[in-house]
């Protein structure tokens, strides 16, 4: 049994016909990638966290271009807001050096660079090979409005939603027990 070849209704435009959304996505992608590279190569740990904010905020812009509104808003709220503040809190609490420090990287930095470039290259080659001809027709109306996502979560994904709430409770209790020494060692004294 052979599957019929899928012929697109509209032939996809070539890569030289760049649309407006592609230009915006390309610029946002350059911001995201540049900020991510600066984040992982910066010698100052606090600056590294601030570059991470720019990278994650740019990614929220990418989600907006892809018409995923709610994911973009949640990205700004949770990632660029809460997670980075938590990371900065961790940096301050472990008395990380504020200025530039020479030993933020381990000696196996060249190997890590080779592995990173190899992973990125391999993934990019695989994806280019698989989705070279795929064209993402951006819908006129946003697909990821709060209404649509909320309906999907509470109609089709109720069980994972509840499981995640239990997981958050477990993580909350676990973090509490780990960060209070008088709870965990009370029985051993």
């Amino acid at each position: 049994m052979t599957a019929a070849p899928i012929t697109p209704v509209h032939p996809a435009p070539g890569y030289l016909a760049v649309s407006g959304a592609e230009v915006v996505f390309l610029l946002l992608g350059l911001v995201v990638l540049g900020a991510a590279v600066l984040c992982v190569t910066s010698r100052s740990v606090v600056r590294s966290a601030l570059w991470l904010v720019l990278s994650l905020g740019g990614l929220a812009g990418c989600y907006l271009v892809l018409t995923a509104e709610l994911v973009a808003v949640v990205q700004v709220l949770i990632y660029a807001g809460a997670v980075v503040v938590l990371l900065l809190f961790g940096l301050m609490f472990t008395r990380a050096p504020i200025g530039r420090s020479a030993d933020v990287d381990t000696p196996n930095r060249p190997v890590a660079a080779v592995v990173g470039v190899a992973a990125a290259g391999l993934l990019a080659w695989l994806l280019v090979d698989a989705f070279r001809l795929s064209y993402l027709e951006l819908p006129a109306a946003p697909t990821g409005t709060a209404e649509a996502i909320g309906a999907a979560v509470f109609r089709h994904y109720v069980l994972p939603f509840e499981v995640i709430s239990v997981l958050l409770l477990a993580a909350l209790i676990g973090a509490l027990v780990l960060s209070r020494p008088d709870i965990s060692t009370a029985e051993h004294r």
Binding site: L33, V40, D103, D105, A120, I164, P181
Partner: protein, 122 residues
């Protein structure tokens, strides 16, 4: 938009996160690498969701779940980092070698930072 734009960005972001995971010494900076990798996967999920016009919005809902789990993971991981800092007064992950093999550790201490390749450690 060609699907390759988000997919290539996600692949490159994943590579950057891998580099941070392997090269950074401070445990909090390693966590930042993990966050970058999770975000690369999220971008893939959203791009494929919009490409497939999923009526259940699976990709975007899964992206939200991943964001939630990442927040929980950062909370627990920072609690562990703070506990390690309280016990050892350092968060440099290459100094936490208590579970390593004693022979290899002794050889490494003798030869400095470079790995004891070919050295007689038996």
């Amino acid at each position: 938009m060609h699907l390759l734009y988000p997919l290539t960005l996600s692949a490159l972001l994943f590579g950057v996160g891998t580099y941070a995971l392997l090269a950074r010494r401070n445990a909090v900076l390693v966590l930042m690498g993990v966050e970058l990798m999770l975000n690369a996967v999220n971008l893939d999920l959203v791009a494929f969701d919009v490409w497939l016009r999923d009526t259940l919005r699976s990709g975007q809902v899964f992206a939200l779940f991943v964001i939630t789990i990442a927040a929980a993971e950062v909370g627990v991981a920072l609690a562990i980092v703070l506990a390690v800092f309280r016990l050892r007064a350092t968060v440099a992950i290459d100094e936490l070698t208590d579970l390593g093999e004693p022979d290899a550790l002794a050889a490494e201490r003798l030869t400095g930072v470079e790995l004891a390749k070919g050295a007689d450690v038996s």
